[in-house]
């Protein structure tokens, strides 16, 4: 079969047109097919949203030559079944375990949302929170102690030192170290 358009080259491309419910087949050579039916895809563009930004940042970061051999990760959270790609697409996590499943990838995302920060330094719940508050109190006592020493109020400084030690022993009996800064 030769091309319907130029009637010279052999036809290699079949184009099916639907017009008023009727199908028409056209047979073109590659050259004519390109010029008559340029390939294009129409797609709806959403306004730039948070998840798109997340995706862009994340993929961009992954493409940096620091990890040249790393493929795009196919991580899946074993708790809720969400993949990291779904997290990036939706801009939301499926469950609390996602944070653990995507732990290595998250700093890249979080630092862009939080002015470069990737580590929590605020309040903590339950026993952890109590320990954190103790640490803050110890720090406050220590700075008071320093002041007392500088102004030669040694008796007071000694009292403060004992107080701080008291609190420290309470933390030590409580278990692991936690982040303060």
């Amino acid at each position: 079969m030769i091309c319907e358009n130029c009637k010279q080259r052999p036809a290699k491309v079949t184009v099916t047109q639907v017009h008023n419910g009727e199908h028409f087949e056209r047979h073109y050579c590659e050259n004519c097919a390109n010029s008559l039916h340029p390939f294009y895809v129409e797609y709806k563009q959403d306004p730039l949203s948070l998840h798109q930004l997340l995706s862009n940042w994340f993929n961009h970061a992954e493409q940096q030559p620091v990890h040249p051999k790393q493929d795009r990760p196919k991580l899946v959270c074993d708790e809720c079944g969400w993949s990291i790609q779904r997290f990036l697409d939706e801009g939301k996590f499926g469950c609390a375990s996602c944070y653990n499943s995507f732990r290595k990838q998250l700093p890249n995302v979080l630092k862009r949302l939080h002015n470069g920060n990737v580590t929590h330094i605020g309040k903590a719940p339950g026993a952890l929170g109590e320990k954190l508050e103790l640490k803050k109190r110890i720090e406050a006592i220590r700075s008071q102690m320093k002041e007392a020493i500088e102004t030669e109020r040694f008796e007071e400084a000694a009292k403060l030192r004992d107080e701080a030690r008291e609190l420290e022993s309470r933390i030590a009996s409580g278990g692991d170290e936690t982040h303060v800064n």
Binding site: A96, L106, L110, L113, N117
Partner: protein
């Protein structure tokens, strides 16, 4: 207790027009986002999980009301009519997201409406405290009390590195969003807002119009809030917002006195015209009403308009919204009917605050 009282036209405590700097700062809002271990986040959970979360959070808070000396009412969102949901949204007591959620969810409201705890919104728990005027520390202390109370009974999702784990990574860490709603007519009139918005955004804060993200500043009311929730302590987030708010208050005051000293007559004319419109208009759109209310409020703040109640802007900005208007009219209204009812409501509200003595003097 009947939920009707949360839906009628009685003002919430945050509209009271009291608190520090209440001539410029209308209200302060603190929000803490929390989730429970063992359940997926609301975007991914099942109805069964939603139900269990709702029960345990509601029970914990309702049981503890003696301990914190606060009475809570629990309202199931599914039990509410569409109009009632809209009214709660317009009062800032629940979010549109919770109002439209297909899953079991509820809101726990304190009697004075200063605390609302949303269950199964974007996160399992959202503690929100809304105070009049500039009261960042006070509102946070209130939210913190509720948070500690729930923490004692419920297993919070927390990670040593990432902090409180939230559905959206923009809340990860402290889960804290602190915001102040400010009335900034003079900065807007003198075209300084764009500059201020740019500067604030460089400091990790956001400025938005009153109705949240992407909305224009209706009635010259702007919301300033922290953007960063990770890598900063709660204290730092609050004190940063406090200091930025104080600086904006200062700038607004300067702009107000500049307007007064340079064009007192023009300003006075504009403010009184707006009072006239609100007092006599028979048809008024949301935009026009918001602009006029802003003018009248400014007139009260600078001592020009003396016979109108200061809470007028706070209350009317809420009550002139579609949900409240329909509640007030006791029927559904189309857009043009709403404009008529809005005008009626504003006329009535303004008369309520009028002082007959001063009126007599004006007439004389």
């Amino acid at each position: 207790m009947s939920i009707e009282r949360f839906l009628d036209n009685s003002p919430s405590s945050w509209m009271a027009g009291s608190g520090d700097h209440s001539d410029i700062v209308m209200s302060t809002r603190i929000r803490l986002a929390r989730n429970l271990n063992g359940y997926r986040f609301p975007l991914a959970f099942t109805e069964d999980e939603a139900h269990k979360i709702d029960q345990s959070v509601s029970a914990t808070l309702l049981d503890a009301d003696e301990e914190i000396q606060m009475n809570f009412s629990s309202i199931q969102i599914k039990d509410l009519s569409e109009l009632s949901r809209q009214v709660l949204v317009e009062k800032h007591l629940i979010s549109p997201k919770l109002a439209n959620s297909p899953m079991t969810g509820s809101v726990l409201l304190s009697d004075d409406e200063s605390v609302s705890v949303m269950v199964n919104e974007e996160d399992h728990i959202r503690i929100q405290c809304l105070f009049p005027g500039l009261q960042i520390q006070e509102a946070y202390a209130q939210a913190d009390t509720i948070d500690r109370l729930l923490d004692k009974e419920l297993p919070y999702a927390f990670d040593e590195q990432f902090g409180y784990l939230t559905s959206c990574p923009t809340n990860t860490g402290t889960g804290l969003r602190a915001s102040v709603m400010m009335h900034l007519p003079a900065l807007t009139m003198t075209k300084q807002m764009n500059r201020i918005v740019t500067i604030i955004s460089r400091l990790g804060m956001v400025v938005r119009g009153i109705y949240g993200e992407g909305s224009e500043a209706l009635g010259n009311v702007y919301q300033v809030s922290n953007q960063t929730t990770l890598g900063k302590t709660e204290e730092d987030i609050l004190s940063d917002l406090q200091s930025i708010t104080e600086q904006i208050i200062q700038k607004e005051k300067e702009a107000r006195s500049a307007l007064l000293s340079h064009s007192a007559n023009t300003l006075e004319d504009r403010l009184y015209r707006s009072l006239g419109t609100l007092s006599y208009a028979r048809i008024i759109t949301t935009e026009e009403a918001a602009r006029c209310l802003s003018d009248v409020r400014l007139g009260i703040d600078i001592g020009l308009i003396k016979d109108v109640d200061v809470t007028i802007l706070n209350e009317c900005m809420v009550f002139m919204q579609p949900g409240f208007l329909q509640k007030y009219a006791e029927t559904t209204l189309n857009a043009s009917e709403r404009d008529t009812f809005r005008a009626k409501l504003l006329r009535e509200r303004l008369q309520m605050g009028e002082n007959p003595k001063t009126k007599g003097e004006e007439l004389a």
